[in-house]
């Protein structure tokens, strides 16, 4: 419920308010996109904390560049329909990276 509200606020921000300072984020994904992935994949408090850290580090004292969110706790979710496994339906790739961490990477070919 709260998650849905926050995500719709993010959408509103991404549609309009971001225009005031468009194209200034130093990262991929952008801070708002990063927050969106966090809220979609992680528990609320983790998502808040990580998103706040991200915004604080989005200035010229930090290098910027590519910075994917990490999955807080990995649990296997069975897929209900076989068609959900086609390339255009998969939203995130969960990719194991260094230190046993799992990066959340958006599928470029995902069609919402």
């Amino acid at each position: 419920m709260i998650k849905k509200l926050l995500l719709s606020l993010l959408t509103l921000y991404q549609k309009f308010f971001t225009l005031i300072g468009y194209g200034s984020c130093r990262y991929y994904p952008t801070c708002s996109e990063y927050a969106r992935w966090q809220f979609e994949e992680n528990p609320l408090h983790i998502a808040f904390y990580k998103s706040a850290l991200r915004i604080l580090s989005c200035n010229q004292l930090f290098p910027g560049g590519i910075d994917y969110p990490q999955k807080h706790r990995f649990c296997e979710k069975p897929v209900e329909k076989a068609e959900d496994l086609t390339i255009n339906k998969i939203k995130f790739w969960l990719v194991p990276s260094k230190n046993k961490k799992i990066s959340i990477i958006k599928n470029f070919r995902f069609k919402g």
């Binding site: 005031i20 200034s24 991929y28 952008t30 915004i55 200035n59 910027g64 560049g65 590519i66």
Partner: protein, 528 residues
């Protein structure tokens, strides 16, 4: 364009139209408003009496309105003219300085003509109260002039059948007064703080109502129309009935004095103080000017209120006031403040400038990537960021400096909104009042133009064509949005834009110089 996008566009366009329309055709509307309020006031006046039983607290006072408003004493000074009526209340205080004039260009009235008046006494004993409302006060003087260093001293007396009330008052030229009340026999009574004038054309979000500053730095504010149940306070340092710029304040109370905030019929707060047989207090009625309040008693500066953002706005005002000390002009002070904020952010900007030098090596790779992923902006952004990270060069400013601007802007907005000092404060040429909108629309248009130019020289790549369209029209939307804002605020935004443009220019120049130097070195090497 999808149906959804068309809807959004329609909303934005109608908003722009609405703002544009109301700014171009305001006079007819305000005239209508005036008629309506006049009618409402007339109605209120006629309906006051039948309502008497509804709420005895207020009706008692409004009954007085119908019986008596005669002048007892007129106090006159260079800055104001104050009247005390035959019931020992401050019935009127008019500021003579023209910069305080209201929208109709009439001298500002500090005391509400409808509602409770300062220093009105209500006795708990019904018979005593009724008699007190009928018997006029007598006084030793009827006309006093006040000047710097020689306050007016007035003694007023009300002789009732078995009670004598004496009010000794000392009114100073800076607008504050001392009051000493003595009763011949002990009786319970309440002393009113008075209500502020309901002014037309108050700015958006300016708080008005009543406040109590009490205990250990606690501020309780009850906004107009929001008053609910009765609230009692002890250990009160000051209580104030205020609007955007002006206030009636009572301070100097002993800690055990009880101050009550009650509600009237419209839900506006009414403040009264439980008095005693031998009662002393201090008061102030007038503009909430920081320096004046501070010189009277530093505690009074707590009555200056910028809404929930006071914690940021109050220090900001101090900085602005300090800068005003240097320049002697609020317009230049605002510009200096903008520069100061820019300087605080300079280490960040400088770092960004340094990384610019590396950009040259990166540029061809970035171009290559942009060409490669032309149809897929998401992938392109990711690829470009990958390069930035590899090369350790990133030309973008970041979200934090941008987001930081928002609270700073809001704090400045609140300061400009509530600082009476800015009333009638001129800058250069056509700008003659930084607290009001620009009558010639020049500043908002300049603001829009600089914003457009700034957008023009900053590179961007949009993933959504709809967004790109709104982005292009943003300076226009902002221009309309800023038209009704105080000139001081538009000035801040305008100067901020200019600094951004200058910064971009310096960066571009440095970049070009680097390029030229490198090119020169290359040709030298080739020559060898």
């Amino acid at each position: 364009m999808s149906a959804n996008q068309r809807l959004i566009l329609a909303v934005v366009l109608s908003f722009v139209f609405f703002v544009g329309y109301t700014t171009i055709f305001p006079p007819e509307q305000s005239k209508n408003d005036l008629n309506i309020t006049a009618q409402v006031q007339a109605k209120q006046a006629t309906t006051t009496l039948p309502d008497v039983t509804l709420n005895h607290d207020i009706s008692a006072d409004e009954q007085v309105e119908a019986i008596d408003t005669t002048k007892l004493v007129v106090l006159d000074s260079e800055k104001f003219s104050m009247t005390i009526d035959t019931l020992g209340r401050i019935s009127s205080k008019i500021l003579k300085d023209e910069k305080y004039n209201n929208n109709e260009n009439v001298h500002s009235q500090m005391v509400a003509q409808i509602g409770t008046k300062p220093l009105h006494m209500r006795f708990v004993d019904k018979a005593l109260n009724d008699e007190a409302l009928k018997v006029p006060y007598t006084t030793n003087v009827t006309k006093v002039s006040i000047s710097e260093g020689s306050p007016a001293v007035i003694t007023m007396q009300q002789k009732l059948s078995n009670e004598t009330i004496t009010k000794k008052m000392r009114v100073y030229a800076d607008g504050h007064y001392d009051l000493h009340i003595t009763l011949s026999r002990d009786a319970r009574y309440f002393l009113y703080l008075g209500q502020h004038v309901k002014r037309k054309g108050q700015m958006m979000m300016a708080v008005h109502g009543a406040m109590v500053y009490h205990g250990d730095d606690l501020t309780t504010i009850v906004a107009d129309e929001d008053a609910e149940s009765r609230q009692n306070f002890n250990d009160v340092h000051l209580t104030s009935s205020f609007d955007q710029y002006f206030a009636s304040i009572i301070y100097g109370l002993t800690p055990n004095t009880t101050v009550t905030i009650d509600r009237d019929r419209e839900g506006d707060p009414i403040v009264y103080i439980a008095g005693s047989k031998n009662f002393t207090l201090n008061g102030y009625i007038g503009p909430k000017e920081y320096k004046v309040l501070e010189s009277i008693d530093p505690v009074l500066t707590n009555s200056i209120e910028y809404g929930w953002f006071t914690f940021a706005s109050a220090p900001l005002f101090k900085v602005l006031s300090w800068l005003h000390g240097f320049f002697g002009n609020w317009g230049w002070a605002i510009i200096a403040l903008t520069l100061l904020i820019r300087m605080i952010l300079f280490p960040l900007t400088y770092k960004g400038m340094l990384s610019m030098q590396k950009m040259k090596e990166v540029a061809p790779k970035v171009k290559e990537m942009q060409a490669k992923h032309k149809g897929d902006p998401q992938r392109m952004n990711a690829a470009v960021m990958e390069i930035y990270k590899k090369e350790g060069a990133n030309p973008l400013g970041g979200c934090l400096p941008l987001l930081l601007q928002i609270p700073v802007f809001y704090a400045i907005y609140r300061v400009l909104l509530n600082s009476v000092e800015l009333q009638g404060a001129d800058w250069i040429l056509w700008v003659n009042d930084l607290s009001r909108m620009d009558p010639y629309y020049i500043l908002p248009i300049l603001m829009g133009a600089t914003m457009f130019y700034q957008q023009h020289i900053t590179p961007n790549n949009f993933t959504d064509p709809m967004q790109e369209k709104i982005f292009k029209y943003l300076p226009v939307i902002f221009t309309f949005f800023f038209i009704t804002f105080p000139s001081g605020l538009v000035l801040y935004w305008f100067v901020n834009n200019i600094f951004s443009i200058l910064q971009q220019f310096i960066v571009n120049k440095q970049f070009a110089a680097m390029k030229a130097l490198k090119a020169a070195n290359n040709t030298k090497e080739e020559g060898k």
